[in-house]
Amino acid sequence: MNEDQVAEQFIVDLLQFLKSSKLYTDLFNAAQIEAFKPSLRVSELRKGVQSGLINGGWDRKLRNAIYHYLHTHPQQPTLPDPEHNKEPLLYIRKAQQTWEKKILKSLNSMCTELNIPLARRRAEREQKDMAARWTELGTDGPDERPWISLNLGQIRPVYAPKDFLEVVAGLQNTNYQNSVSNGGSFYNFWGIIQVPVKLKTINQLRVQYSEMSINQCQTGVDDLPDIPSELFDADRAKLGNKVLAANHAPVAREFSKKGCPDSMRGEMWCQMLGVEVDEVDILYYEQLKTCVLQHDLLVDNLLYKDVKLTATNDDHYFVFEDYLYQVLLPFSRDTVILKHFSHNCATPPKSYIRGKLGVEEFAVVYPPNGVIPFHGFAMYVAPLCYVYNDVVTLYHVFRQMYIQYFFRLHSVSSDPQGIVALSLLFEILLQTNEPELFFHLKNVGCQPLKIAFKWLMRAFSGFLASDQVLLLWDRVLSFDSLEILPVFAVAIFSFRKSNLMKVQTYNAAEAVLADVTTLQVVPLLQLALFSK
């Protein structure tokens, strides 16, 4: 297809999407109301209705809807094979499939070992119990939690970041004559990742993140208490209020590139993600909650265990333990998430009704949202608890963030935003900016990615102080790119360079980088990108 045809098809798809959305009905109703206004003359019907709608703010809503559609539906020619939309490169697809088989095998064996079903229906009394305690699922001892079918101590997380790193490290491009899989021994990259993905250079990154340059005031640096507020803070607050009132996603994005003031962050993120909680959303959440009450999934236990291992032990997030359950449990029942698999290399795992193994009519996606949680998954939600205290909003914001960004951090893909590309970007940037550091670490047996990988996979949640994670995620959302994560990782290594140059073992290097909670995100990013 040539470009015009692609554009035409895209517009047709867009209109189709809009016509079937709730916005269409609302707009139609509003237009009817406008048309019935007595001050309107028949000869000026079209203009009158249009200006009436504009006055009512409908044009902005429409613009937001189109903007979000553009964002979530990449404008490229549909390739013949839907598999290619998910992932164009065959060897990567194969690697992802192998990995998925491995995870499922591990999950199934845990099931058989502990003799528990993947899913079971809850008894009436248990449902009532759980409903009564919905807001405090984190407290009480194990004997007071009849809905947890077994002792949590027997549950193990299905996989952890280091397992995933092994998978990513093992990727080899079969087209390379000299690659290991073809019998050669030539590693063309210094680091762990051997996949030739096209990446941005440091100069391109500088241009991309130019709003963060040192000569521009940033939230997180220039609005601290000891700096007089006339310099930046007061104007920023005024501007922020105007931006919020405008309710237009691209504008919110531009504003947030310099960071969101803490009090405006909630609304800004909602505008950037296109989350507007209305009665339909509240009802939908209640529906998910009912699903949770009716059926108990093995995945629930994985989530409980994960929260208990990560968030409950964290200084910053232990307070929000109960919110995490209220978000994660319904999340695993939400089938809307299945839609994102069309551009995600991963495939949702299938399970079969008991006794009908292999029979396609009895296949169901398990868990219903297709996402198997891993060790640290709960930490994607935790920082959001500082921004939203209403569970329904929290849920929808998290869901959007997952569908748009977080899923890329734990599936194998050649996408420039995927974890493979981000890891390679980290390694290349570190080699370019700090070659002696990289060389030294490699010599002492410490590949830097081994330490940085878990940071990238969790988007730094749980490693930085709570307000710093939020500042970092501000940039992820506003620049619409996860590339800031490897840039920050490089900045950390640069910052601790003098100590790292002295280490002689992998453990010592790990120790130097074990605690990064004292680091300030924005100054470090500015240093990494814009100095030298």
Partner: protein, 428 residues
Amino acid sequence: MSSCCPPPKMARLKYATDFDKSVLLNNFDTRGWVQVSTDDDWNIYWAGVHNIRNIFSVECGFRMGDDQVINHFPNHVELTRKDLMVKNIKRYRKELDKEGSPLAEKDENGRYVHLDFIPLTFMLPADYNLFVEEFRKNPNTTWIMKPCGKARGIGIFLVNKLSQLKKWSRDGKGNSFVAPTAKETYVISKYIDNPLLIGGKKFDLRLYVLVTSFRPLKCYMYRLGFCRFCTVKYNANVSELDNMFVHLTNVSIQKTGEDYNAIHGGKWTVENLRLYLEGTRGKEVSDKLFDDINWLTVHSLKAVAGVISNDRHCFECYGYDIIIDDNLKPWLIEVNASPSLTATTSSDRIMKYNLMSDVCNIVIPPGEFPDVRWNKVPAKENYGNFDLLVDEELAQAELLSQEVKARAGASNATVRGARDLRKPTTWK
């Protein structure tokens, strides 16, 4: 921050201490100070409250030299004993009312507008009848009984029926000749049943306030206070009144609960509290809350400034316990003279170590020997994590110089005074 680089080791002070706590001893030793016994010629004595009475007593006490400082004021109980604190604050408010000060402004219900920072409190057994009158007006309220002489949550219980107070009713009706000792007096306060809940959990605030002088008042607020969370979900249900884990946030009680976590100890930093409140409630209300907290602190100190012996050898680091209610209003629950120096988690240990270090730097200029003739104006770089709340001497001096410069019209002195008190609490 200030304790990362070793302080100058020019002056080898001698210290004595009643506490064998690492956060103290490590601080002193790093400064190159030498430990001596309490009978020797120490420069700084970190005393326990039980010894203070002896040190300052008329009979066996001794006079301190010009180069000696001690960590308590002689009659700190005026602030740190629950009944005396309430008594002093009530008296302070009445005095301001008599003076006609705008601070003592009351609303249509007779409640103080600016100085309503302690929950309604009565002394038992002395005020028993007054209490009963109040109780009968609102019979569905809960009250909390606290013994005056104890700490760490010992002996506290909740009351929602008069029958629970039989013991004090007998004592109140009659023998008022025998003045009850601290051990027998209780205070009963209106229980704050709408505390601010975060994640569904109740918490209280512990803030550290350093006072180096009461007249003129010089006090500093530590930025790194913390919130102590209850490990069990808060439940306003009457039947839960007996469950101490739900209602009391004292760490020593929480520690024995099943869900207590030793990694974070149920403690949250005040910075996280601020981040959460700004994000979920907005900047104005959260700024106002922290302003109110500073206001409350300053006035609680001013209330006792008149009765505390302002011995120049003394300083004191208080632990303020504050509860925030659902309307983001802070309530002063009590003031501790000996905030615990035990560290429950590693971040706790670091925080308390830094606290002690910053206290030392403010009280004794680094590198020098203590001198009671010093004007007690520490250099700003020695504040560490403390922020100056009020320094009346400096404020007065500034006022005078402004007056001389401006030669402005006749501004009301009391109004200026009131504004002056407000100014340092919003330090932007």
